[in-house]
Symmetry: none
Subunit: 145 residues, 2 copies
DNA sequence: GTTGAAAGCGTGGTGAC
DNA sequence: GTCACCACGCTTTCAAC
């Protein structure tokens, strides 16, 4: 796992179907050397697979997304927050953060109504004082990680 | 966008590097027919790209995450923003939003140094006036969707 | 252990139907 | 949508570092 491996991963993140030869000339290696490194990364479990990125709107119509900042009273218990957030299906990702807010939550739902319901469930959680939401107008990037 | 297209998307989700001929025999089509369908899905924006799935922890340990708000001067060009953001491997997801900021970007990198580099690339983009970052202290939820 | 070069062959990409 | 074509790139082998 050296700098070349990391460069290969970055290049493959941008284009997962890039040819070995093309990757090779961008990192200064031959095609066969590139393939061996990628195979090794797959065997080690660093690379778990290759996939296609699909626009979520294409399958179930245009949904609604929002980023919600959580402001809590007193101390924040990460464990309790995690249990609460995991119980809300609309939560795509979440984490405690630095800055004014205590945590940020990425929500995705099929319509505004479902979004409001999810928001209300977040607000009901223990220690949550108030929230600040930003609705997503247009999604620019979404990588499945 | 029929049942065959959906089956192709499902197969590509499992293996994004599958050959056209292999895909063809699994959906009952020829290789060139498959390629035309995939090209059409890409042109229509249903397929936004191909990428590699990397185990975040296996790569270089826990890593660092951050949410970055982008504040732009004057009008925001979503297309230009999208091109810029897609070129930065550290970008997990991003979208234009309501509220004070114009856009929010979810970043993940292997260490603070790489995070700073990615941040600098965001700031260099046209019309970006300044940014406000919140570093993730502990990841609470992450669903691969 | 790693790599690069060459040969054979499978596959992608394109055009005609 | 299929079939046929050609060129390119992948895969493998082998020798060398």
């Amino acid at each position: 796992m050296d700098a070349t491996d990391r460069r290969l991963l970055d290049l493959l993140r941008v284009d997962g179907r890039a040819g070995w030869a093309e990757l090779g000339e961008r990192v200064g290696l031959s095609a066969s050397a590139v393939r061996r490194r990628v195979d090794r990364l797959s065997a080690r479990g660093v690379i778990t697979g290759f996939t296609v990125q699909v626009d979520p709107d294409a399958e179930t119509g245009p949904g609604v997304e929002a980023y919600v900042e959580l402001f809590c009273r007193g101390t924040v218990a990460p464990g309790e927050l995690q249990r609460m957030l995991s119980a809300v299906p609309e939560v795509v990702s979440a984490g405690t953060i630095t800055g004014e807010a205590d945590a940020i939550v990425h929500l995705r739902s099929r319509d505004v109504r479902a979004l409001e319901d999810a928001l209300e469930r977040l607000r009901m959680a223990a220690n949550v004082d108030h929230t600040r939401s930003a609705v997503v107008l247009s999604r620019l990037v979404h990588r499945s990680a």
